[in-house]
């Protein structure tokens, strides 16, 4: 079991390190923006489609408003998360 842990740790590290280190390796193209948008969508909207998506959308709206009003990323995240928690109590 420890060997499995070490394999996962080493493999994960190499997946992160080697393509970054390689001078003439993988070209990123639009992978950065593509992955950020993809990570957002899969983290915010869990399958299957449900009323929870509406709750998530409302909380995202609160996050956006928080960002516009405060200009602070961390505070906006805090406000959005708080709104999501409050909506769950309704």
């Amino acid at each position: 079991m420890t060997l499995a842990l070490l394999l996962l740790a080493l493999g994960t590290f190499l997946l992160r390190f080697l393509p970054w280190r390689a001078e003439k390796g993988l070209r990123a193209g639009q992978a950065g923006p593509a992955l950020v948008v993809a990570l957002f969508l899969v983290s915010a909207f869990g399958p299957p489609p449900s009323p929870e998506w509406l709750r998530a959308l409302l909380a995202l709206l609160g996050t956006y408003m928080g960002a516009r009003l405060t200009g602070n990323l961390g505070l906006a995240v805090f406000l959005g998360a708080g709104l999501y928690g409050l909506l769950g109590l309704l």
Partner: protein, 216 residues
């Protein structure tokens, strides 16, 4: 580094409850506290850690469980090349390169003087790492009751989606990013999230020359 540490707090906020859940899951599966903590200390990749522990608890052979965990992390191969124009990747930087650290760094690094980028990145990664490991330790020790306050656990679970949303906003007019997001969401709805993210990375690679231009 201080600037990066300060920027890490939204990530830390989101990591904490997930890490507590991971620690608690490992303890419930009968794994030793030391082994569970070592997983967070050495792997530092949430989804694959959950997969490893879950598969081991189901009796899957350990090496197969590790390989399946690695498959979940294939998307990480795209992160370094996307950051390469702004920061040269060393071993320590690579170790800290999670989804969330990548997304925050991709937004922040282009606006920083080159001499400050490494310190910022390491601070960002360190903040995330400390939260992940503190949460794991508390979960192992049975502190998931911390999250029992009404609404708190759910609120914290939304910190990472909210963070990703703000980081994704500047890219929502980029057709390649939108297509990649659609691919990822489609696979996600079919229960194949890891493959969806991997294919989103491929879509981004193939989309070079379309959509937004890379910032200098």
């Amino acid at each position: 580094m201080k600037r990066g540490l300060r920027a890490a707090w939204p990530i830390a906020l989101g990591y904490f409850p997930v890490a507590v859940a991971f620690g608690a899951l490992g303890a419930q599966a009968g794994l030793s506290p030391l082994w569970i903590q070592l997983t967070s200390l050495l792997v530092f990749a949430g989804a694959s850690q959950f997969a490893l522990v879950g598969l081991l608890a189901q009796g899957v052979p350990p090496l197969l469980a590790a390989l399946l965990g690695l498959l979940l992390n294939l998307r990480h191969a795209f992160y370094g090349p996307a950051l390469r124009p702004y920061l040269r990747g060393g071993p320590l930087e690579a170790f800290f390169l999670t989804d969330e650290v990548f997304a925050v760094a991709l937004r922040a690094l282009p606006g920083l003087p080159p001499g400050e980028r490494r310190g910022y990145f390491l601070g960002l990664g360190l903040g995330a790492y400390l939260s992940w490991n503190l949460g794991t330790a508390l979960g192992v020790l049975g502190a998931q009751g911390l999250l029992a306050f009404p609404g708190l656990g759910e609120a914290l679970s939304f910190a990472l989606p909210a963070l990703f949303f703000l980081l994704a906003l500047p890219h929502l007019k980029n057709p390649v990013a939108l297509l990649a997001g659609g691919v990822a969401l489609g696979f996600h709805l079919l229960g194949q999230t890891a493959w969806g993210l991997f294919l989103a990375g491929i879509t981004g690679l193939l989309g070079e020359g379309f959509g937004e231009r890379r910032r200098p």
